[in-house]
C-alpha cells in the first residue's frame, strides 16, 4: 500500500521540481504533465477514481494543450544566453528564501500535529453518488462553476483576440 504511494509521490515531486528549474518551457510543460499525471495517480491510489480521470482529462487533455499553445505562440527572441540582470538574482534569492520559509513552517506544522481517528478503508463513492451530490446539495455551486467557466472562456477569447486595427493607433 505504501510502495505505490512512495513511487507516485517521488515521481510527482521530482518532475514538478525539475519542471520549475528548466530553461526550456516545452520541457517544463511536458514534465509538469507528468507531475499532473502523478497527482491523478495519487487520486487513484486514494480511491477517488472519478477525480483522477477528471484530473487527467482536464489537466493533461486541456490545460497542457493550452499551455503548450501559449508557449509556441510566445516564443521569445533569442536572448536566452544573456546573463541574469541583478534584479533577477535578488528576486531568485528572495523567492527561494520565501519558499524555504513556507516549507519549514508547513513541515513543522504537519510533523507536530498528531492525527487520530482516521479511517482505514477508502470511503466508497460511485459516479452515481457524485452525480446525486452535484445535482442535489451542490446544484447551486455547479451552476456557479458553469457560469464562471463560461465567463472565463469568453473573457479569455476577448483578451487573446487581436484588437481590431485602427489606422491612427501607432501600436
Amino acid at each position: 500500500m505504501l510502495l505505490p504511494f512512495i513511487i507516485i509521490a517521488s515521481l510527482t515531486l521530482a518532475s514538478a521540481a525539475v519542471a520549475m528549474m528548466l530553461r526550456n518551457l516545452i520541457h517544463s510543460a511536458l514534465l509538469l504533465v507528468l507531475s499532473w499525471t502523478g497527482i491523478a495517480g495519487f487520486y487513484l491510489w486514494a480511491g477517488a477514481e472519478f477525480v483522477a480521470f477528471a484530473q487527467i482529462l482536464v489537466y493533461v487533455g486541456a490545460i497542457s494543450m493550452v499551455v503548450l499553445f501559449a508557449v509556441l505562440l510566445t516564443r521569445p527572441a533569442r536572448d536566452v544566453d544573456s546573463p541574469l540582470p541583478a534584479p533577477t538574482v535578488i528576486r531568485l534569492a528572495s523567492g527561494l528564501m520565501g519558499g524555504a520559509m513556507v516549507a519549514s513552517v508547513l513541515l513543522t506544522a504537519i510533523l507536530a500535529t498528531r492525527i487520530t481517528g482516521g479511517r482505514a478503508h477508502a470511503p466508497s463513492v460511485t459516479v452515481r453518488d457524485l452525480g446525486a451530490l452535484l445535482a442535489g446539495p451542490h446544484a447551486a455551486s455547479l451552476l456557479a462553476a458553469g457560469v464562471i467557466l463560461t465567463v472565463a472562456l469568453l473573457g479569455a477569447i476577448i483578451i487573446a483576440a487581436p484588437s481590431p486595427r485602427n489606422p491612427e493607433d501607432p501600436s
Binding site: L73, R75, P162, R165
Partner: protein, 390 residues
C-alpha cells in the same frame, strides 16, 4: 471585358495585404517549401514566410531544371529543335510542336495543307483534354483527395497517350509536327480511335464533375481562395485559363483565328471571381468545348496531302528575318520567337512559356492565405517545371 478595356495597374492587389502584414502579430516562420516537396509539381521551391499559418511573403525560386533550352535552339538546325520543344511542357508536346512549327512557317513563308491543319487541331484539342484532365486530378490531389480523382484522370490520360503513341511512336515526346505539315498521315483506324475517345469523354467528365465540382469541401477549399484581379492578370501578361477565369475574354483561337479554328463553332468560358474554383471550372468547361471542336473536326476532316510538298526539312535555310509564332496552348499562349540570319540555325531562339509567366503572380494570389491554400493555388496555376525553367 477584353484586354483593350483594361488599363494595367502599377499597384498590385497584393500590396495592400503586404502592408497589413508588415506589422505582424506573432513571430514569423520562414519555411522553404521545396525543391523536394510532394506538391510543388517538380523541383520548384517557394520560400514562404508565415505568420501562424498565414502567408505574409512568398518568394518563388526556380531554375532547378534549367537545361539551356534557348541556347540549344540557337546551336542546332531548325528541324533538330523540334524534339527539344517536346521537353518544354512535357504534358503538351503536340502544342509545343505546333507553336514552333507556326513560328518557322511564318519565318520561311510556308503554307500548310488543309488536312494537316485539321490534324493539328485534333491533336491540339486532344492535348488540351489531356492537360486539363491531369490538372484537375493533380489539383484534387493537392486538396488532399488521397489519389482517387488523380487515378481517374490518369485512366483517361492513358487513352489519349495510347493514341499519341499509335500516331507518333511516342507517348509523351511526340515530335510529330513539321514545318509545312505533319510527320505521318493518320490512318482511318486511328481516326476511328479518336472518335471513340471523344464519344466516351463527355460521360467521363460528367462522372468527374458529379464527384468533385459540387463537393462541399472542394468548394470550401477553392472558392474565394487565390483571387486574381483581371487588371493584375493582364498587366502581368497572364494567359490561358488563368486569365479567362478572371473574366477577360482572351483566347488566341478567337483572337488570332489561326489554323482552321474559324471554321469551328465553339465558345470561350469565362469566370467571374478569378479564384481557384473558377480556374478549375473554366478548364472543365473548356474540355467540353474541346470535345465539341473535336467532333466537328473529325466530321469535316478533308483528304489530301499532309505535308506541303515545297517544304524542305533537311538543309532548311530560311532567308534572314524574324517571326513570332504563337498558339493557344492548354496552359496559355505558347510562343516561339525566331530570328534567322539565313543560316541553318536560328540566330536567336526565344520561348514564351505560359507556365513561367503565369507563375509570376503566385505571391499576389497567395498573400493572406494559408500554406494549404498556397499548395492548391500553385496547383491551379498549372505549371510544368520543364517549361518554367527551360
Amino acid at each position: 471585358m477584353s484586354v483593350s478595356d483594361l488599363t494595367p495597374l502599377s499597384s498590385p492587389a497584393g500590396a495592400q495585404v503586404r502592408a497589413v502584414h508588415d506589422e505582424f502579430h506573432g513571430d514569423l516562420l520562414e519555411v522553404s517549401m521545396g525543391p523536394h516537396h510532394p506538391s510543388t509539381h517538380g523541383v520548384f521551391r517557394m520560400i514562404v514566410t508565415l505568420d501562424g499559418e498565414t502567408i505574409v511573403k512568398l518568394k518563388p525560386v526556380f531554375g532547378y531544371l534549367h537545361r539551356n533550352h534557348e541556347k540549344l535552339g540557337e546551336n542546332t538546325t531548325y528541324l533538330a529543335s523540334m524534339p527539344y520543344t517536346d521537353r518544354l511542357d512535357y504534358l503538351n508536346s503536340m502544342t509545343n510542336n505546333w507553336a514552333y512549327a507556326v513560328a518557322v512557317e511564318k519565318l520561311a513563308g510556308l503554307a500548310v495543307p488543309e488536312r494537316a491543319e485539321y490534324v493539328r487541331v485534333i491533336l491540339a484539342e486532344m492535348t488540351r483534354l489531356l492537360n486539363h484532365t491531369c490538372l484537375a486530378g493533380f489539383l484534387m490531389q493537392d486538396c488532399g483527395c488521397m489519389g482517387t480523382p488523380l487515378m481517374y484522370a490518369f485512366r483517361e490520360r492513358e487513352k489519349i497517350l495510347d493514341l499519341f503513341e499509335a500516331l507518333s511512336g511516342s507517348r509523351m515526346m511526340c515530335n510529330y509536327q513539321r514545318f509545312g505539315g505533319c510527320r505521318v498521315d493518320p490512318s482511318p483506324e486511328w481516326i476511328a480511335g479518336v472518335r471513340q475517345l471523344v464519344e466516351a469523354y463527355g460521360p467521363f467528365l460528367d462522372e468527374f464533375e458529379a464527384l468533385l465540382s459540387g463537393n462541399e469541401i472542394i468548394m470550401a477549399r477553392t472558392q474565394g481562395v487565390g483571387r486574381l484581379a483581371p487588371e493584375l492578370a493582364v498587366s502581368a501578361g497572364v494567359t490561358g485559363p488563368v486569365l479567362r477565369a478572371t473574366g477577360v475574354a482572351h483566347d488566341l483561337r478567337k483572337v488570332d483565328a489561326y489554323g482552321v479554328y474559324p471554321k469551328f463553332d465553339f465558345r470561350v468560358p469565362l469566370g467571374d471571381h478569378g479564384d481557384t474554383y473558377d480556374r478549375y471550372m473554366i478548364r472543365i468547361l473548356e474540355m467540353r468545348e474541346s470535345i465539341s471542336i473535336l467532333r466537328q473536326a473529325l466530321a469535316a476532316l478533308p483528304g489530301g496531302p499532309i505535308m506541303d510538298p515545297k517544304a524542305k526539312l533537311r538543309g532548311f535555310r530560311p532567308k534572314a528575318g524574324e517571326a513570332y509564332g504563337r498558339i493557344e496552348g492548354p496552359k496559355g499562349e505558347i510562343g516561339f520567337y525566331l530570328i534567322s540570319d539565313g543560316g541553318p540555325n536560328p540566330y536567336r531562339y526565344r520561348v514564351r512559356p505560359p507556365s513561367f509567366i503565369n507563375l509570376t503572380i503566385l505571391e499576389d494570389m497567395c498573400l493572406g492565405h494559408t500554406v494549404a491554400d498556397a499548395v492548391i493555388i500553385l496547383g491551379s496555376v498549372d505549371i510544368v517545371l520543364g517549361e518554367v525553367d527551360r
